[in-house]
């Protein structure tokens, strides 16, 4: 029961923050869409007609995966930076619930708000790309699993932010690093370990009407779960490191 209350608290906080920043959210969202629109136009104009459909489709999937990851991976770190600078962070540490659970709930709350936004982005991107917006439900489920993995990485980054404080530039770089991770070709164990990369292939397969295998589901479920668990452990670890160093907020 008390955990439900904690969740409510983070939920209402996220809601109040979004409400107050909605112009901000809306404008960055619009910019992203416009950029995508121009990329598609560019490909249509200069691309190789033979592979045009494939590349636009690949781009659309890549784009929504990227959009799904940017926020899920970095939102919490920005929140931690904010909380450290205005002193909210100590109150989370003083709560008997503890910072790890509170910020995990913050992630879930963020998730609830981001899901509809992400689906909306997906529809718009598919529309621009000329794809059918009727996507199979397993596509959406895979996308949600990907986002959970993103939140796991988000917890790792938030732990690092808690410890090293000034990670703003790294967080900004993450947006580009994701592109690299998505486009890279990885084999064997790396295919499994490198986040998101495996999801791209599976999502592509679903869009192309090729079904998913048991192995695909095993991969998606375990890699999402592993990143989430590692995220919680890493965050909790750094929460204790800063307690020892006496540097919960900036010292």
């Amino acid at each position: 029961m008390k955990y439900l209350n904690t969740f409510k608290g983070t939920f209402l906080r996220v809601f109040a923050e979004i409400k107050r920043y909605y112009l901000n959210t809306l404008s960055s969202f619009t910019i992203m869409t416009i950029i995508f629109y121009f990329i598609v136009m560019g490909i249509n104009k200069f691309g190789n007609p033979a592979t045009l459909g494939d590349s636009i489709q690949g781009l659309a999937v890549g784009y929504i995966v990227w959009m799904a990851l940017v926020g899920t991976m970095t939102d919490l770190s920005w929140t931690i930076i904010n909380d450290m600078s205005i002193g909210l962070i100590e109150q989370s540490f003083i709560s008997p619930i503890g910072p790890t659970l509170i910020y995990l709930f913050y992630q879930f709350s963020n998730f609830v708000f981001v899901i509809p936004l992400e689906f909306l982005i997906m529809i718009i991107v598919f529309k621009i790309a000329g794809l059918s917006i009727i996507v199979p439900p397993i596509f959406l489920i895979s996308l949600l699993l990907l986002m959970i993995q993103g939140y796991g990485i988000g917890l790792i980054l938030a732990g690092i932010t808690l410890r090293f404080k000034r990670t703003q530039s790294i967080l900004s770089l993450i947006q580009f690093a994701i592109v690299g991770v998505l486009m890279g070709n990885f084999d064997g164990i790396w295919k499994f370990l490198v986040p998101a990369n495996g999801f791209i292939d599976i999502l592509g397969k679903i869009i192309n009407g090729i079904g998913t295998s048991v192995y695909d589901w095993f991969y998606m479920l375990t890699s999402a779960a592993i990143y989430m668990i590692v995220g919680v452990i890493v965050f909790d670890y750094f929460a204790n490191v800063v307690r020892k160093r006496g540097e919960i907020a900036q010292y």
């Binding site: 608290g9 209402l12 002193g87 003083i94 709560s95 008997p96 307690r243 006496g246 907020a249 010292y251």
Partner: protein, 310 residues
């Protein structure tokens, strides 16, 4: 059993390769229902001590018991009995309204809607921010923000409240208000531990005082005892007539007021008083009266810390 027990607390920070011994073995106990003040010059280790009690800092050595719960092994249980307002104008979410702040911090401690619905209006009443409940916390004056921070600390109804420099940066009016609030809280049976540089506040509200310097305890006693100890040693000699060739400034503070001559002296031990009387007798100076000087806590504090430095 005290409400709070601190045993042999030690903390050395390591920052950029340099070691700072912030707290070097501090022990004290805070009794149920009292206002306990920690004083000390900048860097004495007050904040480190308070943060260790809250487990915001993990000490290198020592034990801390909150209502009997060892915070290193029963953190959640111990924290259920504690709330705090930390240094500076922190502690609140600037982008949330007063009401949203109270609700958010209530929720993250696990409280239900039902509890908060009754409790928040009561808190708003107490901190006198009922009219401001829909204003963004960032837009409030410093004094109001501090009241809100105290309100947030009161919300969970913990028996023990820690306040790190609660009147820092506040104007006279707001400080007075905070002082009143502390009294009311004490009357409600709360145990309060605070750190401060505000000697006025200590003089008015504290029951017991712990003075630390450079991470060590200089003294821990009832405020009255400290004041009395100094009162006994501070004398004011009022006399008339000439003081002849002797230079009284040598013995203490000498001045004239309303035609009376006054010598104020600080004694290390009472025999010094007899020596001075001897001199007066020899010089045939007529003493009108002799009395203990009223000392304020600031003088007590300065003398204790200075004594420790020498």
């Amino acid at each position: 059993m005290g409400a709070l027990e601190v045993e042999n607390l030690k903390k050395t920070y390591i920052s950029k390769g340099k070691k700072v011994e912030a707290v070097k073995g501090i022990s004290f106990e805070v009794n149920e229902g009292e206002i306990f003040a920690i004083l000390g010059p900048n860097g004495a280790g007050k904040t480190t001590t308070i943060k260790s009690i809250l487990r915001l800092v993990i000490p290198d050595e020592g034990k801390i018991y909150v209502k009997g719960f060892d915070i290193s092994t029963h953190k959640a249980k111990a924290l259920e009995n504690l709330s705090a307002v930390l240094e500076g104008n922190r502690n609140i979410h600037w982008k949330l309204t007063v009401y949203e702040n109270l609700r958010y911090f209530g929720y993250i401690r696990g409280f239900s809607d039902k509890f908060l619905k009754d409790k928040i209006p009561e808190i708003l009443e107490f901190i006198e921010l009922k009219d401001k409940k829909n204003e963004l916390a960032g837009k409030l004056s410093r004094g109001m923000q501090q009241k809100l921070a105290i309100g947030i600390a009161l919300l969970p109804e913990t028996p023990i409240i820690l306040l790190d420099e609660p009147t820092l940066g506040l104007d006279v009016e707001s400080s007075l208000k905070i002082r009143e609030m502390l009294f009311e809280l004490k009357n409600k049976g709360k145990t309060i531990l605070l750190s401060t540089h505000d000697m006025n506040l200590v003089e008015k509200v504290a029951d017991r005082v712990l003075i630390i310097n450079k991470g060590k305890i200089i003294v821990c006693d009832r405020k009255e005892n400290l004041l009395n100890a100094f009162r006994k040693k501070a004398y004011k000699i009022v006399f008339e007539g000439e003081n002849g060739k002797i230079d009284l400034r040598k013995y203490g503070k000498f001045y004239e007021e309303y035609g009376e001559k006054i010598l104020e002296i600080q004694l290390d031990d009472i025999s010094q008083l007899y020596e001075i009387m001897e001199i007066f007798k020899k010089e045939h100076i007529e003493i009108r009266h002799l009395e203990n000087v009223m000392v304020n806590f600031e003088e007590v504090f300065v003398n204790i810390v200075r004594g420790d430095e020498n």
